[in-house]
Structure formats: C-alpha cells, structure tokens
C-alpha cells in the first residue's frame, strides 16, 4: 500500500516512455527540426491523432470505467475547438484589418476597427457585427478558460438533469445523441453567430506566429498535443487508481450495491462525466488548429459513435486500450479514405477503399466484439499476467 503511484501503475511509465519516444522520433524526422523524412501534413495528422487519443481517453473514463455510454462526446470536443477557433479568427482578422488600414489617411477609431473585423468574419453569413458569444474573443486567456468552462458546464447541467432522473443505459445514450445533434443543428444556423455551415476557418494560422512556417508550428502543436495526452493519461490513471476508481467501477458493475453502501451514485457519475467533457474540450482545442477548420459537421452524431467504436476496438476499461484503439482506427481511416490505399480488383468489381472502408470498420468492430471482447488492449493480458493475485 505504501508503494508509489508509478510502482502500482507500471503501464503509466511505459506509456509515457512510448509517448516521449514517439514525439522525439517525429521531431527528429520532421521538416522543421530534422531530416524532413516526414512531411508537414503527416506531422499534422499525427498531432491530430494524439488529440483523438485524448478524447478517446475521456470516453474511456465515462464508458469503460463508469459504464455511461455517452454518444455525444464530440459535442464537447467540438465546443473546445470552437472556443479556441474564435480567438484565432478574431486575432488573425484583427492583424489583417490593422495592416490594411495602416495607410489610411485617418487612423481608425476602435469602433471602426471592430466593425471592420466583424464584416471580415461575418460577411460570409451576411452579418456585420459581433454576436454576444464573441464577447471574449479578443482575449486568449478568457477563450482558453472557455475551452474548459463551456464543455464542463454543458456536461454538468446535462448530466445533473439526466443522472438525477436516473436515466441510464440506452436511454442515456439516445439523450447524448440528441444533445450533440441539437447542438450541431443550432450551430448550422447562420443566426447563431458562429458562421453557420462555414464554420471557423484558417485556424492553422496561429496569431502572432505569422512569420513562422507551418512546418514549425505543426511540430509545436504536436508537442502540445503530446503533453496534453501525457498529462491526461497520468491524471486519469491517478483518479482511477485509488478508492475513487473502485467506487466508479462499482457503479459500472453494480449500481444498486454502490448506492446501498451509502455512496451518492449521481454525484460520482456527474463528476466523471464533467471531468471527461473537460478533457474532450481540451483535446478539441488542440485538434482544430491542426485541422485548420471546424464546422458543425464535426459535431454530427456519427462522430461520437465512431469514438465509441474506437474505444471498443481498443479495449475499454483500460486507458492504453482507448489510446491504442483511437490511434489505430483513426490512422487506418486516414489511410483508407485518403486515396492512398490500393484498390482491389476482383475482375468483376473493383473495391475502392474510400467507399468500402466503413464496411471494413464495421466488420472489424463485429469481429472484435465477438472474438476479443477486451479489444486490442486485451492482447496485453497475454503478455503480462495482470491478476498476480
């Protein structure tokens, strides 16, 4: 019992080592700091994959550990992206507008400046002034706080209403689907104030770093993503390693028993759900500057379902399982749908992976569910005997 956290959780150290090696490897092979063996676009893909691993980790906390099958986690991920995207768009546009007005005969007043920025950002949806939700977009600090606060508060309110009413199982999953769908439809409207289906774009151009090439900023963002994933992993492992983890897994396996032991099950679910939403928001805030664009499609219900598939294939209830699943499936998905996978010519029919990838994924999901219910992460059990009892 007196052993340190890392001694009790050897997988955390192994994971950190692998993550460090991966980051170092990509850096050494990158265009910016190394041999240029890896293209900048691949660096971005890998950085985005790290963010997807982080949101899968968040998903594993609620589903794998607490037994809440949330099918709306990309709502939190997308909200995190929107929050950081607002600042990037504002700050970028401000720089452009200030630059273009520099030669004007009269220096612009602050009001003129704001109007000019608003026209630049919202002209595409016929707007010319800032909606209320952009009130803090000029401040990086405030928008960073919103990255955590907005998904966290949404999860807190949604979770409080759902868990208090004892909504569980498939009904809760449907509710979370409805939540992300409603949010996506809301964001699709031009009147909402987040540029409707255009979404926020140009996010790869980090304000203040205009003179630094993308090859360099992409590595910086990859480092940031790796750091966030590492911290998220240690944090999640710590939360689940103590008695809190025992209680949460107890809720997953036998909710009435936990309740009749005197634990407020709703409070614990709310805690885990909100924590998970906050992690998802942070992952989204790191993902979209690498993707370059966010639009309401990202919050579509199917995205959250894919997230559940990743975690199921990777193996839920173990943190590295979620990471393995997200990394494997999302990288395979990029490969198959990126047009680089060779077509298979059957003579009478040509399998084009762009169309057939989802079929392959579905098949893989069924096979994993049938033959390896513990997922890819479960293979580790064959190497390491976990129950040393």
């Amino acid at each position: 019992m007196e052993r340190s956290f890392f001694a009790r959780n050897p997988s955390v150290l192994i994971f950190m080592g692998l993550l460090g090696l991966f980051t170092l490897g990509v850096t050494v092979l990158s265009e910016a700091y190394g041999t240029s063996a890896i293209s900048t676009s691949l660096v971005k893909t890998l950085g985005m994959t790290l963010c997807l691993c982080l949101v899968a980790l968040a998903m594993d906390l609620v589903w794998g550990y607490c037994g809440i099958l949330s099918l709306g986690h990309f709502a939190f991920f997308g909200l995190g992206g929107y929050m950081i995207g607002m600042w990037i768009m504002y700050a970028r546009t401000e720089a452009v507008v200030v630059g273009s007005l520099a030669n004007a005969p009269l220096p612009p007043t602050p009001a003129e400046l704001t109007d000019a920025i608003a026209v630049q950002i919202f002209g595409v949806v016929g707007g010319d002034s800032f909606p209320w939700m952009w009130a803090f977009s000029h401040s990086l600090t405030l928008q960073l706080m919103l990255v955590v606060l907005v998904p966290g508060l949404l999860a807190l309110v949604f979770g409080w209403l759902a868990f208090r009413s004892r909504v569980t199982g498939v009904y809760l999953s449907i509710l979370t689907q409805a939540m992300t769908l409603a949010l996506a439809l809301y964001l699709f409207q031009n009147d909402t104030g987040l540029r409707g289906n255009n979404g926020l774009s140009g996010l790869q151009n980090i304000p203040g770093a205009e003179d630094i090439p993308q090859s360099v900023t992409s590595i910086w963002l990859l480092w940031a993503s790796a750091l966030a994933l590492g911290l998220g992993y240690i944090g999640s492992a710590w939360v689940m390693s103590g008695k809190f983890g025992n209680v949460v897994r107890g809720i997953r396996d036998d909710e009435p028993r936990v309740r009749f032991l005197g634990y407020s099950v709703e409070g614990y679910k709310l805690f885990v759900f909100t924590l998970s939403a906050v992690i998802a928001g942070i992952a989204g805030a790191l993902y979209y500057p690498q993707a370059g664009i966010i639009n309401p499609d990202e919050l579509a219900p199917i995205a959250s379902i894919y997230l559940a598939v990743w975690v199921a294939i990777g193996g839920r209830g173990r943190l590295y399982g979620a990471v393995i699943g997200a990394a494997t499936v999302s990288l395979l998905s990029t490969w198959f749908t990126g047009g680089r996978a060779p077509d298979v010519n059957l003579g009478f029919y040509t399998i084009q992976w762009v169309d057939w990838w989802t079929v392959l994924l579905g098949l893989g999901f069924v096979l994993v569910t049938l033959f390896a219910p513990k997922g890819l992460g479960g293979l580790v059990d064959y190497i390491v005997r976990k129950d040393r009892a």
Binding site: M1, G242, K243, G250, D254, R259, F260
Partner: protein, 246 residues
C-alpha cells in the same frame, strides 16, 4: 433495548395491487429478527421501503433516537444513517478483489472529492484483514470476487455490510443455495452481528430460521399476521392456514 426502527400504518400499492397493507413493525437495538411469509407477502417490499427504494403511499418510517423520518432521505443517505442491506442474490463487485470490496465498504467519508484523495492507512488495512478473517476469507484478500463460490460471495457481502458498521442490517434470504456447513457459518455470522446491532433476516427456509433462534414476524398479504417465538407462531392456526399448511 430502545426502539431503533418503527414503521406504522405503512401501505404501498403497485398498479392496484396492495403489496404492503397498513403494516406496523418495530425493532430494537440490539435484536435479531426473522421475517417469514409466503411469496408475495411483502417481505422484499418491506426492505425496499426501509432502504428508500420504494416510497410508501401512506404511513411513517421513524429511525433512531432523533426520530428521523426515512421517507425524506435518498437510498444513499439512508445507508449513511446506518442501514445496511444484503440482496437476495449475492451482489459484490466481481471485477475487484476481496480486499478492495471491503475497502470500498469501510465506514469513511462518501463524498467524491474526499474519496478521490483518500488512501488506505495501516489501521484500515488491519480492519480489512480482521473483517476478512471474520467472514472466513482471510486467505482470499487478493482474489477477484468474481471467482469466489456462491457461499463465499454471500459472506463477502455480509462482510461489506459489517464494514459499513450499520446499526440495522437487512438480510434477504442469506442461506439460499448454501450447503449445510455454509449455512452454519452464516448463522454464526448473523448471530454474532446481532449482539451489537439490529439484524432483520428475511428467510423462506424454516430450518434456517429455527437455527437463528430468535423472534419471528410472519407477514401475509402485506401486514403482520403473527409475531413471537418460532414455536409460538407455528402453532398459530392462521399461520398454519396461510403458510405452513400449504
């Protein structure tokens, strides 16, 4: 002997079916009590009411010296007041070790933030070992509860209840599916527990009730039919008609 729990005039209706009908019941501390009755007599509903799972349509449930009404409390709050419940089928955390099962049950702060930073101290470790010895699972502390035998799971659940240090223990058919020696051990556990607290055992099995050697309450159609020593109630003609005579 002070009255610990008192139900009076309690009624519950499910879709027109009166599961509990003007039930009144008292138990003191310490006391061992057996509740018997045919299927549908309202035994499990009685436990559901006391533990807060079911809210009665009318009547009062009063608890402890300060005469708290349990009807206003949630299941978790009632459990924290000192009422432990053992389910009919063994419910333990199968994915966790015996030690972890007992650790989760130990009487400690139940709030999420306090639990998050809680770490076992040597005294807690000792207490877990004591409890494991008491329920006969001292050699299985590191065993996953899922691979224990049926009887061992039942004991583990009783151990978890004892770890909670409840003032009232509600036990639903503890001897179901147990072999002879296992039953004897269970009888001892319950008798020992009842020396310092109130224990209510709901049971079908007459032999087991006889071994408990305690006051018996017979439920029928949601109300108390008879109460007293087992010999006394089994001699009651009404009891024979509705239950034993069948």
């Amino acid at each position: 002997m002070n009255t610990l729990l008192e139900l009076s005039g309690v009624s519950v209706t499910f879709d027109g079916f009166r599961a509990i009908n003007n039930l009144s019941f008292q138990i003191a501390e310490p006391e061992l009590r057996a509740i018997i009755g045919p299927n549908g007599a309202g035994k499990t509903t009685f436990m559901d009411i006391v533990t807060g799972k079911t809210r009665p349509d009318e009547g009062t449930v009063i608890w402890g010296e300060r005469s708290i009404s349990l009807l206003k409390l949630s299941e978790a709050q009632i459990a924290r007041e000192g009422i432990g419940r053992k389910f009919q089928r063994p419910t333990v955390f199968e994915d966790q070790t015996v030690a972890d099962n007992l650790m989760v049950a130990l009487k400690k702060d139940r709030g999420p933030f306090r639990v998050l930073v809680w770490r076992a101290e040597p005294a807690d470790q000792t207490r877990i070992e004591e409890l494991a010895a008491e329920i006969g699972l001292a050699d299985h502390l590191g065993t996953k509860a899922g691979i224990l035998s049926h009887g061992q799971k039942q004991w583990l659940e009783i151990g978890m209840l004892l770890a909670q240090e409840p003032r009232l223990l509600l036990v639903d058919e503890p001897a179901a599916g147990m072999s002879g020696p296992e039953r004897d051990h269970t009888t001892e556990l319950l008798k020992e527990a009842a020396k310092t607290r109130a224990v209510v055992v709901v049971e079908h099995d007459m032999d087991f009730v006889r071994k408990l050697d305690c006051k018996v309450t017979v439920l029928h159609e949601g109300s108390v039919l008879a109460e007293g020593r087992l010999d006394h109630v089994t001699a009651n003609q009404q009891v024979i008609d509705v239950y034993l005579g069948r």
